[in-house]
Symmetry: C2
Subunit: 337 residues, 2 copies
Amino acid sequence: MDVTVEPEPFAADATLADVDEERLLAAIFPSFAGAGRDLVGPGDDAAVVMVRSGSIVATTDSMVRGRDWLDGWSSASDVAVKCLTQNLADVAAMGATPTSLLLSLVADPATPVAWVAELAHTFGTEASAHGVTVVGGDLSSAPAGTLVVSVTAFGELYGRDPVCRDGAAPGDVVAVRGSLGRSGAGLSLLQSGAADPAAADDLVRDLVQAHLAPRGPVADGVVAADHGATAMIDISDGLLRDLDRVARASDVVIGLDEAVLARFAAALTPAVGADVALECVLSGGEEHSLLATYPRAEDVPRGWVVIGSVADRAGERPGVAVAGIPTAPRGWDHFAG
Amino acid sequence: MDVTVEPEPFAADATLADVDEERLLAAIFPSFAGAGRDLVGPGDDAAVVMVRSGSIVATTDSMVRGRDWLDGWSSASDVAVKCLTQNLADVAAMGATPTSLLLSLVADPATPVAWVAELAHTFGTEASAHGVTVVGGDLSSAPAGTLVVSVTAFGELYGRDPVCRDGAAPGDVVAVRGSLGRSGAGLSLLQSGAADPAAADDLVRDLVQAHLAPRGPVADGVVAADHGATAMIDISDGLLRDLDRVARASDVVIGLDEAVLARFAAALTPAVGADVALECVLSGGEEHSLLATYPRAEDVPRGWVVIGSVADRAGERPGVAVAGIPTAPRGWDHFAG
């Protein structure tokens, strides 16, 4: 089908206050083309999403300007990539295949239309690259300064059992798919002012990009499920904090191998120094790598790295130990002062 | 199963900044008990929702403090009822049965824990009364002053075709299920300061309540579908604006019967006067009554009121006419200045 999309009929400096909501939506919807497999896409009271396998995996996550991103650091496109990755990683961490999403924007009317159009365009493009369709969403106005981007993402298990947080058992090995500490190191570089793009070397630029627009191993959640993963979570708030959630849900102690973590840290050290590097590996958030437990080392899929093992808590509190030493969960707490 | 829920371990004046996220969630989750029919409820990376009929209806809607509610007028419980109604009405307007929802909060850390607990409690109670389960959600912190409550609601069609906005055909009749203009009249009373609870009479109190905590005819969406409704929408932004959406999607002209609308207005007149009453009927938003078109008058279910009919647009622009006079859509536009 040939579709002729008219150019956006907005001035370059237009804000949301200048444009009619219906026209804005008409300009955005072409970014979400390709919704053919769904019964009803954007523009009605609700979307109707085909479900092939008896259940749907659903998760929601928001990004807030001033807390989750700063306009001085992140483009609208960066925000789109990060918000998409956060949500798709949560679907993947259930062992599911992401299929579709709803996109919501709560925005100060002074928000530039161009920012919204860039956000929508990147959402459409990046979601499509994951085989994910944008099927709907919502626009709400907000007081001055407020800008919140929210996604609800859907996935299917296609007959697999969901991989929850509470299935880790003593004797399991713990493995990670993806990087550790890169997003945290990028944040550290941004905060220290060491990330001047003109002066920065390749590693610094890569780490900053890993923070601003992280991409997770979204397709590997299904691989983990097919290899018998007993528990899984993605790294949203830091390795220690997220593994602590698995440990408490499963009522076990997870022991991490200091030597393996040190190798992950060594890759960051040239940019941030050894001490910051190890702390980023242990507690850096927004990495969106997958952490899973497997019954035996030979179950661990290719490309995953074993970083520890699961032990009976033997009367101790469930939690995480590094090199045998119980370690308090640290990392991002949304409301901490 | 006996479940012992410990009392919330928070001080009466605690804010989100004072409490640990995990403890806060542990205190809130009991409000969402009864998720037995879902495979995975709150507390994992994502929810897993059973889908019995091959597709899921999904919609999302947000409420923003300072735009969609004022703390001086609305309690946390009012906000919960209104946000729930908005979302369930969208599911109903597809001809679907609401089944479950995700609840998200984007909140300034200074938000009282008691406010959040009241919101969660009312969500759990009211959703349950509709047979709807709270299966998950998200907590995000926000800059000072920001408070956003978002819901993604799910429903099932159980073999019915979705009732979209684009199915109205010339010769159809237009009917409403529920009230017209009551929420708008309540808003008008609040804005004029005429709604002092001590002095107000029953009608004023009812209208104010209809604005602060509207309840829609959620179960009647399925009734409309079973009676052959050709198009349906709920009144979110006003009768004229929402019917204009149906008219444009269906490429028709919808004619409204002035005498019938006047009867709806007459019910409001003692509280707000005749002129405001008619304007509330025509353009008052947040009513969440259902508007549907049916092929014949005898298809219209009991309890619905016929308010107009659908005509071929005969070369004119699609839209809405009152007493034969084309009427520009007016009502709530989220980003208008």
